[in-house]
Amino acid sequence: MSERRVELIRREDNAFVEATMLDGLAPEDLLLIERVWGPQRLRLLEKLLRRGVPRKERPESLHWDWGLKSGELRLLEAKGFGVICQDEWQGAMLVRTASHFTQLEEDKGKPLVYGDYIEAAPWNWRVKVLGQESRFMGVGSILFREAVLESIREGFHGRLGLHALPQAESFYETAGMTRIGQDPDKQDLVYFEFTREQAQRFLGDGGAV
């Protein structure tokens, strides 16, 4: 496991704070993270149910529970990353670097890094209906950036593919990824790709924002 220094923005005082990007998490490490995130998910769910907030307006990973998937996570050949700040997991990501290929005409069939999972800690979710703001800003961005860097390290020049949840589509689209379309094999989640040029632009100035 290796680690690098990164920064996040603490919302409370809008200050840049030091954080650590851990590289080399195993998929089953999500179980440890879930021990902390799980109770937080439940607390949010209770609040949302009490308010009668319909499903569409609830955070989309509210019902996720990696604890129930321990067996499957152990078998998963994915590479994990996590961001730690102030001794807590602020976000996590899993990527796969083998057997995923570019669909875009440009570079079609060439290997890319596939983002299997990106999530911020429940206290970093913005839940407008409850007036909850994220404690740290930029957690998803710094993980997403790490996926692009991983693609460069693998020799894939930043090529990246991922399936975004509906509430996150605008993020990846505005970050400059190409929207390939709904994927019937993934319950119609929208599939996005970065070409090498788009990835370079994203690393440089934040893409098409």
Binding site: P54, I118, V139, I152, A164, L165, Q167
Partner: protein, 163 residues
């Protein structure tokens, strides 16, 4: 291959810009793995819209008018009409809960049918599909429909204790 180094550490300007974008979007969730592991809810579009038909059949079986059912369940008449017509509008959880009590079915399952609770019961999905396939909305209850309805009610009532 190494990264060229210049991009490894993002500038603060970059981070600020992306963090603002993240704020505007509200979510960064990537869900390929969650989908693979069955952690995404079923697509609402995949589920037959049977709540309205069910409520209507249940009401008619009891010989109740819409008004009377609204009274008994202490729910808004307009909302009950909207439910029976399977309108796009999502019903109020309280309404569904009240209807479940009066119609004597599991509130959890009725909430699932209404799209207010996570679909987790495959048997319910299948029962709803069978019911939808064998009944016509707003028609007189034929004996075949009556059978289809009764079969569906069984599934809706079963294990209501768990809810």
């Amino acid at each position: 291959m190494k990264t060229n180094g210049q991009h490894d550490e993002p500038s603060r300007k970059w981070l600020r810009k992306m963090a603002e974008l993240e704020d505007r979007s509200g979510s960064v969730l990537v869900g390929g793995l969650a989908q693979d592991l069955g952690m995404l809810p079923g697509r609402a579009a995949d589920r037959p819209r049977v709540l309205g038909r069910f409520v209507e059949f249940a009401r008619r079986t009891r010989g109740l008018s819409v008004e009377r059912l609204a009274e008994e369940a202490e729910v808004d008449l307009a909302e009950l009409v909207a439910i029976e017509r399977d309108s796009e509008r999502q019903p109020d959880p309280r309404t569904i809960y009240q209807l479940a009590i009066v119609l004597r079915v599991s509130s959890g399952k009725l909430l699932e049918l209404s799209g207010l609770a996570e679909p987790r019961d495959q048997e319910l999905d299948e029962a709803a599909l069978r019911f939808a396939a064998r009944s016509e909305p707003s028609a007189k209850l034929s004996s075949a429909e009556q059978n289809a309805f009764e079969e569906f009610v069984k599934v809706l009532v079963e294990s209501s204790d768990e809810d």
